[in-house]
Symmetry: C2
Subunit: 301 residues, 2 copies
């Protein structure tokens, strides 16, 4: 594994992942470059999956897909005013995530493998879904870094009882959420900062201890993915009258939906945390306050 500091752009990370020089989580790599969740499906499920994303844009924000069925090196973009070439040039979807998971007949068949070149067929379609790593940079810049990043841990993720709007074969699934603790008095600021990140889950979908029960989360100390949340002193994260859990839609949702749909054949995804990093930047997709002001003043951004 190379030193992360040398991976400054999306292209850097993709190339390092492709050559198996970077094999771990992409959290914090290539700041400001958009990172993406990956789902690869047999083509007969593609139309229903697009509909699932259209109907559930908060947990399943669709950024791009294979330019044509079977294409692993060219993208069709769903980001307004951004071409597929601009989303990620010279991409190889079979190699450019640091690690992948493989599902056969809707069961996990291989875990954190380095590539999917042997499994990819000319009947597969890849989908890239927005990732909340994007807004974590903005939170940190505003002096509100997510606790898991401060403590060098993975974000906790939970199954909920909140139903997804079904679409074709994708029925019976629910939201997966990520959780970051914040002071109750900071929640409105956190909501405002993350609101503009519309294609990477946007503002939180719930906050407060009462949301844990309402979302059917059995135990906040036992996330289904990622790592257990901690108090700042390293103890358990419990109600101290100050910090509350804040929940966002999570890009693991589409992998859950795929698992629950009983799909036939070979389905692939990135290993959670091991994203495909793109060429397009957060500022290009979401704009910035500075960019907006400059545009208003007629200045070159």
């Amino acid at each position: 594994m190379v030193i992360s500091a040398t991976l400054n752009t999306g292209a850097d990370v993709r190339l390092a992942a492709r050559n198996n020089k970077h094999t771990s989580s992409t959290s914090g790599l290539a700041p400001s470059y958009l990172q993406a969740n990956l789902i690869v499906l047999p083509s007969r499920y593609a139309a229903d999956f697009r509909t699932l994303c259209t109907r559930n844009p908060v947990p399943c924000p669709l950024l791009a897909e294979s330019a044509t069925v079977g294409s692993f090196n060219a993208l069709k973009s769903y980001i307004p005013s951004i071409s597929g070439e601009k989303v990620a040039a010279d991409i190889d979807i079979r190699h450019d995530a640091p690690r992948y998971n493989i599902y056969q007949e809707s069961k996990l068949a291989a875990f954190e493998v380095p590539d999917i070149a042997a499994q990819w067929t000319d009947d597969h379609v890849a989908f890239l879904i927005g990732c909340s790593y994007s807004f974590e940079t903005a939170l940190t810049e505003a002096g509100l870094p997510p606790r898991h990043t401060v403590m060098g841990r993975n974000v906790p993720m939970y199954r909920t009882s909140v139903p997804l709007c079904p679409a074709g074969v994708f029925t019976g699934s629910t939201y997966v959420v990520s959780m970051r603790p914040y002071r109750r008095s900071d929640v409105e600021t956190v909501r405002e900062i993350t609101r503009r990140f519309v294609t990477t889950h946007g503002e939180p979908i719930a906050w407060g201890w009462e949301a844990v029960r309402r979302f059917g989360i059995e135990d906040v100390a036992s996330p289904e993915w990622g790592e257990k949340p901690l108090a700042l002193d390293g103890g358990d994260f419990v109600d101290d009258g100050d910090y509350v859990p804040v929940f966002w839609g999570c890009g693991v949702t589409p992998q859950e939906a795929v698992m629950r749909a009983g799909l036939e054949g070979t389905v692939m995804g990135h290993a959670p945390g091991h994203m495909i990093v793109l060429d397009v930047t957060e500022d290009e997709v979401f704009g910035t306050a500075k960019a907006k002001i400059n545009r208003k003043l007629g200045l070159t951004v």
Copy 2:
């Protein structure tokens, strides 16, 4: 009230509503013309409302809004390839729904009034939201007419415990759903028929008696809006082992969200069932199987 049969187009219905010649429900009027739910908000809430619709497109499918703040006679369209002028020419949002409701400080202040000309200000923004009347025609044409239309009743609508994704001031709200009974054996066909109506709620979000409990609906015989569902023999609609309740996202959802948000000032909406009928047709928005085949063959549709 004029005879419905003479109201063949969206423009016919709008003109009749404007002149108070049609003052009742628009169900079944001007078949194939898109009908729309209406919400009118003070401009300071407009950005948050747009985000609410973007995040919850199934219950809140945004079709169009005022071309500019204060505009009641020109629209900006959100329907791909359809201009605001094509959505509805010569519209007057203050008069063109048969009946309106008016809210002051988030409380219902006037019910089923004929127009909102006196309340409209140059700070108001109108939003048009898709309506499930659109797919009811398609269901009827397929030999699966919704029971409430067959029995000449209003569709039952329910509050649920399914949370909306919050957006800015719009927090704490839940899905409102409409319900149509179908044979369990017909549910997959009903799903397929309604799937393409993406901007008018699309396919159902749940079906089956177990969904009643899961959605937190206390009593299927006591809808919050519309009329109580009945069995085909006029008795109560209960589990007979054959028919099940089928639930769709409902355009009353945004009115609920507005009520729960504690908005200040004057908010207006159509009276439920009393829609604004548009110039654009279902075929123009959703295409048809026939149109698709003709396009494939290079024929003029």
